[in-house]
């Protein structure tokens, strides 16, 4: 099935529902539109539980059995991944799209040397001879920043630090030169200096190979200077999207405004800030099994109006290329 998408990846009207055994339907992703052009970096920002990882797994078609992609399309290079058969999908994963997982300690096999785990990816997708694969593994390890690839290659995951393990899974992800990387909270288990290094590495990979990256995080600071565009997700939906610098300078949705304010207030290293309360949003994400009526953000919104409790806001376009779901910008 061919689409007409100019994007490398385009998600249209996607809904994902979990149907657990206890029968309570959870609408993790709801009527979501999202796109990423070739070579572009797009950030998806949101708190845990907003559906970010469900979106990532839906793009890779790695959702658990009880999840249902009810509506929508996911076009990758013009093919709708929801209608592609499993053998073809196995080729797309790795060769076309690959995943940088959140916790490399969980995704790496503890009893296999890391070099062999990179080799597994190469053997699965490319017809290379053993010698060629060895060279390739060495090159990949150098590329992700190891000075001594041979020593690292024969190490077990537990012998490596958290930052080193993250580099290994990045090497696995780029092993077959895919055109799209999905990085799901790639730095959330690392401390600040390591976070900066990993983001710099991903930026270099994009520059050198033109690989597009969809990066998912709860921390807007990761996107600063890295993501070309970003989308803000709340309770299964994208509430605002646009160019990263523009969203940071002029956030439109009250939720985005709050997130930017929290980040500004948190990343403030000066003595005058001592013991001053942080900017914060009250309350928590709504339960995805029972979203509130009207705008899903209204119970926490400092600017809620009567209409927000009654109707679900559609997408408005108060500024060019910065769609926002909020009644402040029309009704």
């Amino acid at each position: 099935m061919q689409g007409t998408s100019e994007f490398l990846l385009e998600v249209r009207g996607l809904s994902v529902t979990y149907l657990p055994a206890d029968g309570i339907r959870i609408h993790a992703v709801d009527d979501l539109d999202f796109a990423c052009a070739a070579g572009e970096v797009v950030g998806i920002l949101g708190e845990s539980g907003c559906g970010k990882s469900t979106l990532a797994n839906a793009i890779l078609q790695l959702l658990p059995r009880h999840a249902l992609c009810g509506r929508g399309q996911i076009f990758f290079r013009g093919n709708d991944l929801l209608r592609v058969a499993e053998p073809e999908l196995r080729n797309i994963r790795g060769l076309g799209i690959s995943l940088v997982p959140q916790d490399p300690a969980l995704s790496l096999n503890p009893v296999i040397k890391v070099g062999l785990q990179i080799d597994e990816v190469l053997r699965a997708h490319l017809a290379l001879r053993s010698k060629e694969r060895q060279v390739r593994i060495r090159d990949l390890l150098c590329e992700v920043g190891f000075d001594q690839p041979n020593e690292i290659s024969s190490a077990y995951p537990h012998q490596l630090s958290g930052g080193q393990r993250q580099r290994i899974v990045i090497a696995q992800a780029i092993a077959c030169k895919p055109s799209l990387l999905i990085a799901d909270e790639p730095t959330s288990k690392l401390d600040a200096p390591l976070q900066t290094e990993i983001i710099a590495l991903l930026a270099r990979i994009r520059r050198d190979h033109g690989i597009a990256i969809v990066i998912i995080s709860h921390d807007p600071a990761l996107f600063a200077g890295f993501a070309d565009r970003m989308a803000v997700m709340y309770a299964g939906r994208i509430v605002e999207a646009g160019d990263t610098p523009r969203i940071f300078r002029q956030p439109l949705h009250p939720y985005t405004q709050a997130l930017v304010q929290i980040a500004k207030s948190t990343f403030n290293v000066s003595a005058s800030q001592s013991r001053r309360r942080f900017a914060a949003i009250g309350g928590e994400l709504p339960n995805p099994a029972a979203f509130p009526a009207g705008c899903r953000f209204h119970p926490r919104c400092p600017e809620r109006m009567e209409i927000c409790e009654q109707r679900d806001p559609q997408v408005f376009l108060p500024l060019p290329l910065q769609p926002v779901r909020c009644f402040k910008y029309g009704d």
Binding site: S188, A192, T196, A224, F267
Partner: protein, 276 residues
């Protein structure tokens, strides 16, 4: 907030604390590894001492020794000037009972317990009766922003931020003076982290609590601590009032830690157009 008048006695003082672990054993040779070397520091009543350092520098070992989860090899831990290292746990007063809050509330809470059972556990250990237990649990949950209706809810149903609130309620229920916060804000979303940090600041103001705040996140420590101690390879390499550490750091380790926090701030300010 108390100041450094030098007149008041410190609430907590740690003197010459040492701790070794033994690596190897069984078939290998046993090598003692020093985790803490000659640690000295003080915290005054109602103050926060921030302990920063890279992973593996000994922060958590020190936290565990202060909370008496771990037994130091030598040295003294004094509360109100009295050494508590040798005092049996059961004879500690509530002022001497240091409570600890961990990074991962998911693994520090029994998933089969209801919220009330989680919070009342320290009281059970102290042998309190059901009536007063219920009262105290209700108060502690209320103070941490958890509605009393949630007392019967399973701890499993709580979100990450709510579980951290539950862990704080459990620590507070016996009315301690000193809380050891070991990466208690790590791994939370930025928005949840801000909420919990505010809660800790509010509780400190309300109850004159003393905090030993351990984190690899310098930004957070700078914001919450009155004084900062920097650890590297089992030693405190630099310490002083937060403003002094910020404006005139002496040691390379400190400068490096501050630099990464400042870079994050500058990157973000550059793109958003200035700090708050």
């Amino acid at each position: 907030m108390s100041t450094q008048t030098g007149l008041a006695n410190p609430f907590l003082s740690v003197r010459g604390l040492e701790k070794h672990y033994v690596r190897g054993g069984l078939w290998g040779t046993r090598v003692p590894v020093a985790a803490l070397k000659n640690i000295d520091f003080e915290i005054r009543d109602g103050e926060t001492l921030g302990l920063v350092g890279e992973s593996g520098s000994g922060k958590s070992t020190l936290a565990r020794c202060v909370a008496r989860v771990e037994k130091p090899d030598s040295g003294e831990i004094l509360i109100d000037g009295k050494d508590i290292t040798a005092k049996p746990r059961t004879r500690l007063s509530s002022r001497e009972l240091v409570q600890m809050i961990f990074q991962d509330a998911v693994t520090s809470i029994n998933p089969h317990f209801t919220a009330a059972q989680v919070v009342e556990e320290p009281l059970l250990i102290q042998g309190e009766g059901p009536q007063s237990r219920r009262e105290k649990v209700r108060t502690a949950m209320n103070e941490t922003g958890l509605p009393a209706e949630w007392m019967a809810r399973s701890a499993m149903e709580f979100s990450g931020g709510q579980r951290q609130r539950l862990a704080i309620a459990r620590a507070l229920v016996i009315r301690p003076k000193l809380l050891v916060l070991d990466e208690a804000l790590t791994g939370l979303d930025l928005s949840t982290q801000a909420q919990i940090a505010n809660l800790l600041l509010d509780l400190q103001a309300a109850h004159a609590l003393t905090y030993l705040l351990i984190s690899h996140d310098v930004t957070l420590v700078v914001r919450m601590a009155d004084k900062i101690a920097v650890m590297a390879s089992g030693r405190i390499v630099e310490s002083g009032p937060t403003s002094k550490i910020l404006t005139a750091p002496q040691r390379e380790e400190t400068i490096r830690l501050l630099a990464s926090a400042r870079t994050a701030q500058e990157n973000f300010a550059a793109i958003t157009g200035g700090s708050e």
